[in-house]
Amino acid sequence: MSDLTDLTIAEASKALSSKEISSLELTQAHLEAIGSANTALNAFVLTADEQAIEMAKASDARLTKGEGGVLEGIPIGVKDLFCTRGVRTTACSNILDGFTPTYESRVTANLWDAGAVMLGKLSCDEFAMGSSTETSCFGPCINPWRRSGTADKLVPGGSSGGSSTAVAARLCLAATATDTGGSIRQPAALTGTVGLKPTYGRCSRWGIVAFASSLDQAGPITRSVTDAAIMLSAMAGYDRRDTTSVDLPVPDYCAGLDEGIKGLKVGIPAEYRVEGMGAEVDALWQQGIEWAKQAGAEIREVSLPHTKYALPAYYIVAPAEASSNLARYDGVRYGLRVPGSDVIEMYQNTRAAGFGSEVKRRVLIGTYVLSAGYYDAYYLKAQKVRALIKRDFDRAFEDVDVLLTPTTPSPAFALGEKSGDPVEMYLNDILTVTVNMAGLPAVSIPAGLSGEGTPLGLQLIANAFDETTLLRAARALEEAAGPQPAPENWWSTTP
């Protein structure tokens, strides 16, 4: 059975088509893996066993007839931020306690249309606000990786830590995730998985619980670049119900994936050598540059001068939008309601009990920066910075095809290590937020282990809607980096 959970999507699809395995077997193997892992890892906040079995059987029926989509019979996990019809969706917040949508998000609907099987819902930071999945109302999710020779619990990154954990621990073949400031790429880097954040507008946001509307974007976490390409092919597409989605055809992201990067111009932004970046992260970056060179790419130094303003500007824009987006959780229509003597008190009681402290912090920051008298100094200025960041990238992409940087300044940290210091926690996003501010596509690939024996990731960034080049470059570096180790299984309760 362990073989079945170790397959990539590409391998599993081949085995399913050739009838070597059935979707039911594959799905059951994963449900069992979840069952034996969840106590230790806490990745799934809900498993949809019956629904998964039904979907698997339906997939098998289609496969038998030689029909099916690109993900036919592939069991995947869904971040709890995606609304799933008839399946509880909470954004890992008490305020959505017991909320069961009557509708399906566009991205997950696309995945089911492509034949994917839903195993269940994955933990994340509350409303996707966090970099460690410690703010989930279901309790922290644990990284399957440990530092060599220790049993300390490490965080799997965040906010999509449930997704990265489940994929790294072989609890699903792939998972959906969302990325507002690095929430796909950072957890991927910290768990040795591939995390792809598409261009803003590439995937519909319809039916995804909103955090910061101008930054949120759905994408996959997988165990290979090819799998990420397969997932994106199914997830992407214009949706008239999301007017910020872009009406462009979805290319076949798998075509040309193995063409290599000979002749491709790879930019190295000097400003990403940030304060506090570990020596081994820098060394890995140099290694990545070397791999690219050896694969025939041309390396160019580029400058993105406004990089250092990205994080502060992000922590104005994102909370501002969040403070407004989360106003709808008021206890009136759905989710948690804590009564009060009048409606104002009911609001106060409900929101005090329903939101965790990180969400409250961001709602307060957001409310403050939008207030009369502060708007110009904060929100408006942050938007101007955002425009300058975008311009930096535009200029860089006049000279290069992709940019290569580390994904995070450091490897996975211990549970509780940074949760007491919000700014320390926010610094995790320093190398990833720029991309969200500019709306660009980027991917994190596993590229080696730290001295502690935990994964490190490299980030590639491409021009808007050029996921094809992005994935081709990622595939080349993945090839150059060679096979990456899987985490040692310490979490299973059954052998």
């Binding site: 995606f82 609304c83 969706t89 954004a91 959505l96 909320f99 949508p101 009557t102 509708y103 998000s105 946001r205 319809w206 039916g207 995804i208 619980v209 909103a210 910061a212 509307s213 101008s214 008239r240 119900r241 999301d242 007017t243 910020t244 501002a320 939008e321 403070s323 407004s324 989360l326 106003a327 709808r328 008021d330 009136v332 229509r333 759905y334 409606v343 609001y347 409310t367 939008l370 207030s371 009369a372 708007y375 929100y379």
Partner: protein, 497 residues
């Protein structure tokens, strides 16, 4: 001169004259099949929460999608107000908590509205014309409704109205009297109805006004204003302005200060009351809605909408005066309601326009008023009334008989011709028959004949006698002519002068 109208409404106080300054924010519900950002129906009167989409209820992950029909209605209205159309406008979020505001924010337009400056010209009768500037028009979502009378200690929320498109039309502070404010709203409503962009039904809340009132000594800077929220009838607007202006003058003359605040008008008490002060005012934390891209229009779209605009009341009034020789006041009354104007045009086609106008403003309005009906529900339509006017024109019925026939038409819905035939009301214009009756009357009343020679005005007595003997069916003009000839009396105008 427009200035005359502005200076003639001063309030005389103990310390001298005060000028009232009024600006209005009118919220007009847009006529459209579906809501501003969702596909839910906008129909009035559905059972509570029957017309609520996932977007209107602000379910998690739902996104607004702009309804182009509402955008076109806003452009149409802007063009009707001779206003600047902004080809790029932006939707903002206005953040505040209220149970009937599901998103926790209203999507509105703050810094970049779809329509900029425009103008409405008011016809103030003897005062002349007053031009009122339009500051802007923007699109926004309506809120739902809180129901406080359904349960002893709970409130209910009906979201049917939530998300319906509103146009907020903001005037400049150009109005100087309660009367002008009333005429402004009436004129705006007329324009909206002509354009078909708002039904203007104030009872159902499709049109409501926030009234900003301040007072100042003529020539001074603008005074501190108070905003009277949600006044929902034209009469109340007038009452609210008068009350509020008097209240402010009294405070200022007592040496007090006006506090900028939001007030409510209580129609039963006829007074305004404080709702919240400036200190308590909401900080709405406006910012551009990140779910919506800037709204872009092409000049071609605007031109197409412009080309399809109907004739508006001012143009129609000018045409009625120019082409149909109507008096100014009559034309003004006819164009004030689009349906009346259409009725009139149908009635006047091929007929005496002034006669048609008189019948509408006289008999028809009187009847509709009694029946409490609007003209589009009139029991007698323009064709039917036209048939009656034609009978008069042919001399088949007299004006007096026609009024009786009209009453029967209202009551029975029968055509005029049938009523006249059935009741034998045809007018006798046969000179021979009338002459015979005239001769009889003259022969029987020698004293009166003697008198009329010196007092020609008593001719009326003879007319009455003849009409009585013919059962009212004689053509009065014919009777008159024959009597004058037989009694040797000249034209009645000569006698009167």
């Amino acid at each position: 001169m427009p200035n005359d109208a502005r200076t003639s409404h001063l309030i005389e106080g103990d310390t001298g004259s005060w000028e009232i300054v009024i600006g209005l924010e009118v919220h007009a519900q847009v006529v459209s099949k579906s809501k501003l950002f969702s596909g839910a129906s906008t129909e009035f009167g559905g059972s509570p929460n029957a017309q609520v989409s996932l977007v209107d209820a602000a379910m998690p992950g739902m996104l607004p999608v702009i309804n182009r029909e509402c955008v076109e209605q806003a452009v149409r209205t802007g063009l009707g107000l001779n206003a600047q159309i902004n080809l790029v406008s932006v939707f903002d979020r206005k953040n505040y908590f209220y149970p009937d505001l599901p998103q926790g924010y209203q999507i509105s337009q703050f810094t970049k509205p779809i329509v900029g400056e425009g103008e409405i010209v008011l016809d103030m009768g003897e005062e002349g014309e007053v031009s009122v500037g339009i500051e802007r028009l923007h699109l926004e979502q309506d809120a739902g409704k809180s129901l406080h009378d359904q349960h002893p200690d709970h409130s209910y929320v009906d979201l049917n109205r939530s998300g319906i498109a509103l146009m907020e039309i903001v005037s400049k502070p150009d109005l100087r009297s309660a009367e002008q404010a009333k005429v402004y709203v009436a004129k705006l409503r007329t324009i909206l109805r002509y354009l078909g962009t708002c039904d203007g039904n104030m009872e159902e809340g499709s049109l409501r006004a926030d009234v900003n009132v301040s007072v100042r000594k003529p020539g001074d800077e603008l005074g501190t204003r108070c905003e009277i929220k949600n006044v929902n009838s034209i009469r109340f607007i007038g009452e609210a302005v008068d009350y509020e202006a008097a209240r402010q003058v009294e405070i200022l003359e007592d040496g007090g200060e006006i506090i900028q605040e939001t007030r409510l008008f209580d129609p039963d008490a006829g007074e305004t009351r404080s709702m919240r002060s400036k200190e308590e005012a909401h900080d709405y934390r406006y910012f551009p809605d990140p779910d919506l891209l800037p709204l872009e229009l092409s000049q071609d779209d605007v031109e197409r909408i412009k080309a399809e605009l109907p004739e508006l009341p001012d143009a129609r009034k000018a045409r009625f005066m120019r082409e149909l020789a109507l008096e100014h006041d009559v034309a003004e009354r006819l164009v004030a309601d689009r349906d009346v104007a259409e009725y009139f045009e149908a009635l006047a086609r091929g007929r005496d326009a002034n006669l048609a106008a008189n019948w509408i403003t006289g008999e028809l309005f009187g009847a509709l008023n009694k029946l409490d009906l609007t003209i589009d529900r009139s029991p007698v339509d323009a064709n039917q009334l036209g048939a009656l006017l034609d009978l008069m024109d042919d001399g088949a019925v007299s004006g007096r008989t026609a009024k009786d026939v009209f009453e029967t038409m209202l009551a029975t819905g029968q055509p005029a011709g049938e009523i006249v035939a059935a009741q034998g009301l045809e007018q006798v214009s046969d000179t021979g028959a009338i002459e015979q009756v005239v001769d009889e009357v003259i022969a029987a009343n020698p004293d009166q004949v003697e008198q009329v020679k010196s007092k020609p005005k008593t001719l009326g007595w003879f007319v009455g006698q003849v009409m009585q003997k013919t059962g009212g069916k004689a053509n009065p003009q014919t009777v008159n002519d024959i009597l004058r000839r037989k009694l040797e009396i000249g034209d009645d105008q000569d006698q009167d002068s």
